[in-house]
Structure formats: structure tokens, C-alpha cells
Amino acid sequence: MSRFAAPKTSPVSKRDPRVGGGGGPDGELHNSMRGMSLRAPMPTNTGNAEVCPVCKSSRYLNSSLRFLVNPECYHKMCESCVDRIFSHGPAQCPIPGCRRTLRKHRFREQTFEDIQVEREVDIRKKVQAVFNKREEEFESLRDYNDYLNDVEDITFNLVNQIDVEETNRRFEAYQKVNEKEIEENAQLAQQEKLSFTAMQKAERHQARERREAARREEDDERREVEENKRDALNRLASGADPETVAKEGQQVQLKKRMDRQAATERQRQLQAASDGRNGSSNFIVKGLKSRQKVEPEAPIDPFGGLRISSKYFTLQDDYIWEGIQDTKKDVKHVAGGYDVRDYTQRSLCAAFSGLGVFIADEISERDRAAQNSAAIGTIRADIGLKDSLMADAV
């Protein structure tokens, strides 16, 4: 076991302890040669890739050793340690000095060699998930850049642990305020990703088809050449003049080649045209997706902006005239939801509709205007309001 007494976190590269002290003047060559072997992964410069800091088991003994890392404290340990320590629930990190409670399900494989990079990437992911505004939502480029700058400030603070508390507070405040937009943007990103993968698949499909078409063309060409030869042979056999046969054969071959070329040209143009259309639309979709903020639909206004106001009366809720009093109590009418105010409103509207309309004056004015053709454009707009605007108000 003494052979495995390698230091745990030494940043300097060490010679492979398995080799032992051998090598001599070839030591370094051996080292590099050894690095190229496929048998085992190369020891990194940090030198702590192979030994679990908790149980000290190395990859030499257990070839399927896998190291997991928890994003809480970014301490790595081997899979068996994780199983052993955290299977029964959350426990303290076994690295001495680190007292964080870790949970088993948060352990995952390290993506980057440098643990700092891993940490930073995690922080960036978290920040991006919240600060996911897009360029289209900003009025000018300058605003967008300012926004990016702020986001970068936050990220920098979090990564380098400057003013962590305050930054966290800002972070949470922003998150709370913009919850809805964050959600919308996240959904949009999701949709784009889906469409992107679909598009890629379509492109690959197209490429495959084109390859097939090319192959088919080659086969056709070969077959035709063979046919020509056979044809020429037949003709020679039946006793035609060899020179004419040869010439004709060449001509036929040439013509066929020209035809084929023309056909392929046309095909290619067609494809290029359709591809051009597809391609351009593809690019448009890839590049910018203009997003309009979906405004909630305004409630439908059946009158299209028209309102009727009563100048000469105010409708009261109840009129004591016995005509409507009887109707109000009659079940035949009330059961269907009929409101007596419909009747009273119409009656009162009819009572005053036209009170301020002075026919003699308005008609004379209209006739005069009609006679004077130049004045047609200045006819009062409310003379001749279209009937279709209003239902019968009387």
C-alpha cells in the first residue's frame, strides 16, 4: 500500500507511483509515453484525479471508479463513498473542514476539469435562468448592453464571493418582480430548442436524400453505358458498318449525356429554388424570432365604440304606471328574464328622439347643399347616419 501513498491535493504533477522509481534517464520519456497509453486515463496536472479523498481508493484497484461532485461545496468523492455515506439521508460532507449538509441526489459527474470552472458555470446557469431577457425586448442596443452589464456584475459578485448577501437579495428581488416574464421567456426558449432540433433533423434528411439521388444517377449512367456497348455489339454482329456504328454509338452516347445533364440541371435548379425558400426561411427562424407580446384580447364590443346617451331623460328604475307594474309581476314575462326597463327605456327614448331636430331647417340646408355640388363635401356628417349603425331605437 505504500506504493499508493500519493498526496491528495497536490497541484504539481507527479510521476506515476505505479512505475515506482524506475526509469532513470528515460524517466520523462517514459512518462510521456505512459501518458499516451490507452489503458488508463492520464493523470492531470492537478494530480488528484485518481484517488478518492475520502476513502483513498484509487482507480488502480477499482477500474470503474467514478468521481461525483456535489454543487454545494464542490468536493468530489467516489461513487461508493457517496452511496455509503448519503444513502441514509442527508449527512455532513466528509471532507474535514467542510460542514455542509449534502444530499445524495445532488451529486453528479464533473463536466469540467477545473472545479472552479464547474462552479462558475453552475452559478452562471442559475443566473441565466432568472435573468433571461432577450435583445428584442429592449428599446435600444445600449439598454440591452446595460442590462447585460448588470447581469454580469451580479454573476461576478457571486462567483468571486463579493457582497454575496446583497447580491443575493437583488437577485431574489428581481426574480420576484419578473416571475411572469421569466416564465414566458423560458417557455419560448424551450419551444425554440424543439423547433431547432426538428429543423436539424429535416436538414439531415434532405442531405441523405440528395446523396441517394446522386447514387441513383451514377447507377443509371453506368447502365446506359453498358446498354450502348451491347447495342453497338449487336449492330456489329448483324453486319453493319463498324465505323458508322461507332460514330452513331458516340452520338447516341453524347446525346444521352447531354439530356441527362440538362435533366439534372433542371432538377438542381428546382431543388435550389425550393431549398432557397426553405433555406431562407430556415435562416430566418434560426436567426431572429420576432416576438410580439401577446396582448390580452379586449372584450368584444358589440356596438363598435358607439354609445347612446340620453340627453333629455334619466331612466329611473321603477315607474308607477300600472301598465308596467302588472307586467313586472306577471310570471309569463319575468320568468324568461325580461326586464321592464327595456320597455321604459325605449319609450322614453322615443318620446324625445327628434325633439331637437328642426326638420325645416335641416332639410332646406341639405337640399341647398345637394344643389350646390361643390359643397357636397361639407354636408353635415350626422345627416344621413347610416341606418345600419343602429338598431331601431324606437
Binding site: K311, I320, W321, S347, L348, A350, F352, S353, S364, D382
Partner: protein, 382 residues
């Protein structure tokens, strides 16, 4: 874009205002023009028929109007006979009047037209009676009733809505009753002293004058109470309704004034102090429309007042006019039933139509063949 419409704007949107409202001068001009046209035509077919006295014995404009008025009265009595609501009566009379704005009695004598007009009105005002039943009760053949219908629709320019004052009158009645009870809706811009005060003022209103048509008399005790006011209002309402039923229909007020002005004029005639009081709560004192509105109502009331039933033709007068009309009427429109049937059937008989259609189809086919293959060689089709 919100556009607010007041009741006046709503009236201006109606066809009654746009097509069937005239100033007195324009009304006279229109009637004169119709009369002239009919006279022209009369000269034409008068000379055709070589009728010696056909040219001389025209009906004058006034006589025509009187005949129309007589038949308006006839429509009213017929409608009462059928016990139809008052709207039907009013609509029918207005249709007849509008018809004779653009047609002359010589072309379509009112005797043949008024039954159709009444039938049309009953359809329009939702008290439709089936044609056979109507024909039976009015003892006329159904074809005769239907024959001029399309001509009438054309003359009416297919606008069948007639704005009536009756519903408005009920509205005014309701409001006045509420006012008497002390509930009133405030109108913008009008200074009133509140509902209770209005009620008190109502009680202190002066008696209706001599010219007022209302049958109400003040209580002998001299002390007015709310129920007296209520009686007064109801009496004014019935008097106004009677006025609207008779004189309003038999004069030209529908052409010259709006329905609202007509009903207020009728109320004005019925019970003047009450109406003035009511209008004071509706029209702000400072507005410049107020004197104009009051003036218009007064003018309309004048017309209604000066009308009297003895202006209407008697039966003898009518018969006399119709006899003269018979001599000088347009022969082309003598048989309306035949004309109507011919119009429905089409101008040619069925066989002719079939022949014509086949020929046209054949020619079309030939033409198309030529277009495609070029002209046929040697007469044979290509």
C-alpha cells in the same frame, strides 16, 4: 373611438328623417312635380284616346289631396273595424301618404290601393292576418289585394319603418306619473329644485285653459292632492292620444315634424300648463335650443288645432271625384291584377323562352368551338 349618440342622433339615422321629412316648401314642390308629371302623361293618353273632355277635366292638386285624405280616413275606420292596434292605423295612413307623394291618383286610384296598404301595414306592425281571411273580411279578391303591393313598396322606396309617437307618449305618461309621486330622474343641465319640490309645484299648477282638450276638471274642494294630479295626467294622456289618432294622421305633420315634437304638441293641446311644466324639467333654461323647440311644438300644435273633421270629404264628394277620375285616369294601369300576374310570370311564354334558351346555348357552344380549334373548315365543326 367612442362616439356618443343622443336621441336626436338616433332620429337622424332613421329613414323617416332621411327620406320622408320635408320642409313645407319642399313638400309642396314635390307634390307639384308629381301632379305635373301625371298631367303630362294625361295629355299623352288623352290625345291617344281622342277624348274630347279628357283634357279639360283634370283633378286639381287640392282635390287630389282631399281624395287621399278621405282614403286615409277610410283606412282608419277599416283598421278600427278589424280592431287592430293604433300603430297599424298610423303606419297604413303614412304609407298611403308617402305613396301619393311620388304617384298620382290618376295612375293609381286610392280605391284600389288602400286595402293593400292596410294589409302591408298589418304585416309590418306584427299583427299579420292571413290573406284569405283578410280578403274575406274586407270582401275583396286576394289577387286584387296583392296586385299593387310591389308598386307600393317601390313608391315607399322599401323603407317600411314609420316612427310613431304613441310609445313616446306612454313614456311621457310614465315620467309624469312618477313626478307626481315625487320620484324624478334628473336631467343634465336642468335646474330643478328636487323631486319633492317638483311634486309640490305640480300640485300648485294652474288649471287647464279653455282651449285645452283635456276632459279633466279641478276638484270642487279646491285642494289638490296627488291622486287629482294623477287623474289629470291620465286625462291629458287620453286627450293627447285621441289627437294623435285623428288630426295627426289626417294632416301632413308626419312629414313636417318629428314624432317627438308631434306628441308633445298633442300634449300641449291637451293640457297646456302641465306640458309646459314638464318641458321645463327637460330643457335647460339657458340653452338656445329651448325657444326653437318650444316654437316648433307650438307650430305643430297649431296645425293640429286648425284641423277639423269637416275638412274631410264626404261620401258624396268622394264619389263625385271618383267619377271624374274614372274619365281621366291612366289606361295603362287600369288592370293591376293582370299587370301583377304578368310581372310574376315573366314577359314571354314558356315555349318561347325554351326556344330562346336553346338557341343561345347552341350559339355559345359554336363560339367556344371556334375559339379553341379555329374557324370550322367547309362548314363542318372542327
Amino acid at each position: 373611438m367612442t362616439q356618443t349618440l343622443t336621441e336626436d342622433d338616433l332620429y337622424r339615422a332613421s329613414t323617416q328623417f332621411r327620406l320622408w321629412s320635408f320642409s313645407p316648401e319642399s313638400l309642396a314642390v314635390l307634390r307639384q312635380k308629381t301632379h305635373e308629371l301625371a298631367r303630362e302623361r294625361g295629355r299623352q293618353y288623352g290625345s291617344e284616346n281622342n277624348d274630347a273632355d279628357g283634357m279639360a277635366d283634370h283633378l286639381s292638386k287640392e282635390e287630389e289631396l282631399q281624395l287621399v285624405q278621405r282614403y286615409c280616413e277610410q283606412i282608419r275606420t277599416t283598421s278600427d273595424h278589424f280592431k287592430w292596434p293604433v300603430q297599424v292605423k298610423a303606419t297604413a295612413v303614412q304609407y298611403l301618404r308617402r305613396f301619393y307623394l311620388s304617384n298620382s291618383v290618376r295612375t293609381y286610384p286610392p280605391k284600389e290601393v288602400y286595402k293593400t296598404v292596410l294589409f302591408l301595414a298589418c304585416k309590418t306592425e306584427a299583427t299579420h292576418m292571413a290573406l284569405p281571411e283578410y280578403a274575406r273580411r274586407i270582401s275583396t279578391a286576394p289577387e286584387v289585394i296583392l296586385a299593387p303591393e310591389y308598386k307600393i313598396m317601390q313608391a315607399l322606396r322599401f323603407t317600411l319603418d314609420v316612427r310613431q309617437p304613441y310609445r313616446g307618449l306612454k313614456g311621457v305618461l310614465m315620467e309624469m306619473l312618477n313626478m307626481a309621486q315625487g320620484m324624478v330622474g334628473q336631467v343634465e343641465g336642468v335646474e330643478t329644485k328636487g323631486a319633492k319640490q317638483l311634486q309640490q309645484d305640480m300640485l300648485l299648477l294652474e288649471q287647464p285653459g279653455h282651449h285645452d282638450r283635456t276632459p279633466w276638471k279641478a276638484p270642487s274642494s279646491g285642494k289638490m292632492e296627488v291622486k287629482h294630479i294623477t287623474d289629470r295626467i291620465n286625462a291629458a294622456y287620453s286627450a293627447a292620444k285621441a289627437l294623435l289618432d285623428g288630426p295627426a294622421l289626417l294632416t301632413d305633420v308626419y312629414f313636417l315634424y318629428t314624432s317627438s315634437q308631434i306628441l308633445l304638441a298633442a300634449l300641449h293641446l291637451a293640457d297646456e300648463p302641465l306640458t309646459s311644466f314638464y318641458l321645463n324639467t327637460k330643457l335647460p333654461l339657458t340653452s338656445d335650443l329651448r325657444p326653437r323647440i318650444l316654437g316648433t311644438i307650438a307650430a305643430c300644435a297649431d296645425i293640429l288645432q286648425t284641423f277639423s273633421t269637416d275638412q274631410i270629404l264626404t261620401k258624396e264628394g268622394r264619389d263625385g271625384l271618383e267619377a271624374r277620375l274614372e274619365k281621366c285616369r291612366d289606361p295603362a294601369t287600369r288592370d293591376l291584377v293582370k299587370a301583377h300576374a304578368a310581372a310574376k310570370r315573366g314577359s314571354e311564354s314558356d315555349e318561347e323562352e325554351k326556344i330562346r334558351k336553346r338557341k343561345a346555348a347552341r350559339e355559345k357552344h359554336e363560339r367556344e368551338g371556334d375559339d379553341f380549334f379555329g374557324p370550322s373548315i367547309g362548314g363542318k365543326k372542327g
